[in-house]
Symmetry: C2
Subunit: 184 residues, 2 copies
């Protein structure tokens, strides 16, 4: 079985291919130009994107969207995480969090999978944790250097093993993979 992954991100592509391989599913990258909608809901963004992708490619395809939701900032940067990272960087987030006591946050990922004209399946994964006072570690990408998962002492950027095991994206892809296995 082959499914397309509509993404321009090579790192995400490799991660997904690795996880879905175990379900006997081959993943092929599908690059397509598309304007994401604005919404505070990852699910809405992913659902709209996968519908646009399916309309174009007419074969089983999935999209993945993720974001960092910081409690004290009303869920900022949320579904706009990559845009905010580009504009303000990690520094901007730490500045906004200066002197803020409640540092709780979570990463969330969402996969939307469209198989045919009628069926869209959604998968979610969250990873709860906290925002550090300063960046730590150089692995991973995005906000990894300032996020420590619950019950741990290292950031995602300090331990790739930690990230692979606990990450929102890993959990979500795993759910997706299990579901594909059942369908086959």
């Amino acid at each position: 079985m082959e499914v397309l992954f509509a993404t321009s991100n090579k790192g995400k592509m490799e991660e997904a291919a690795e996880i879905l391989k175990e379900a006997g599913v081959k993943v092929r990258q599908y690059a397509f130009r598309y304007s994401e909608i604005r919404s505070d809901s990852l699910e809405e963004v992913a659902r709209d994107a996968v519908q646009a992708a399916y309309k174009r490619c007419k074969q089983p395809v999935f999209v993945e969207d993720a974001g960092l939701f910081i409690q004290a900032l009303n869920g900022f940067p949320g579904t706009y995480s990559s845009w905010v990272l580009k504009k303000l960087g990690i520094k901007g987030i730490l500045k906004l969090m200066e002197g803020v006591h409640d540092r709780s946050a979570y990463f969330e990922a969402c996969v939307a999978y469209q198989e045919d004209n009628y069926t869209i399946a959604m998968f979610h994964g969250k990873c709860f944790g906290r925002i550090t006072e300063e960046p730590r570690g150089s692995k991973g990408f995005g906000f990894d250097p300032i996020f420590i998962p619950e019950g741990e002492n290292q950031t995602f950027a300090e331990s790739i093993t930690l990230k692979n095991k606990l990450s929102h994206r890993y959990k979500t892809l795993l759910e997706f993979s299990k579901s594909l296995k059942l369908r086959r």
Copy 2:
């Protein structure tokens, strides 16, 4: 002549009606649900929105989009201004600007007007100025209390006369109004 204004904002509606009246144009509010696209360009956002609106209403219609672009923050919050205001507030912007020497910023507005199946006209207006160290004034809305236009000493929230005369939105609507006058 009557044109529709696709907006859910009553304040914007009244402002537009007032300005376009002088061109002999009647403005009627057109409320429609629509997911704005993500883009760093006001023009792209407005163009997509007006096309969606025209498809629905099939009569002359315009949309207006605006944002605050802060130089030292790489144009943040830009086309996401209202979302950022909701999440971080004016306080968040001032926190990001703490200790920042270059306080230059501009407001930009863009009107997209679709008259028939083929014609879309775009109008732009900018107002250059600077970000204050603290909020001042209680008039207007949005980021008005922290924006002082070039060559002035008061924020948009301290002087509504100033805002009405200099604002990006006023300039843009005026251009639009002139153009409608010529078309008639």
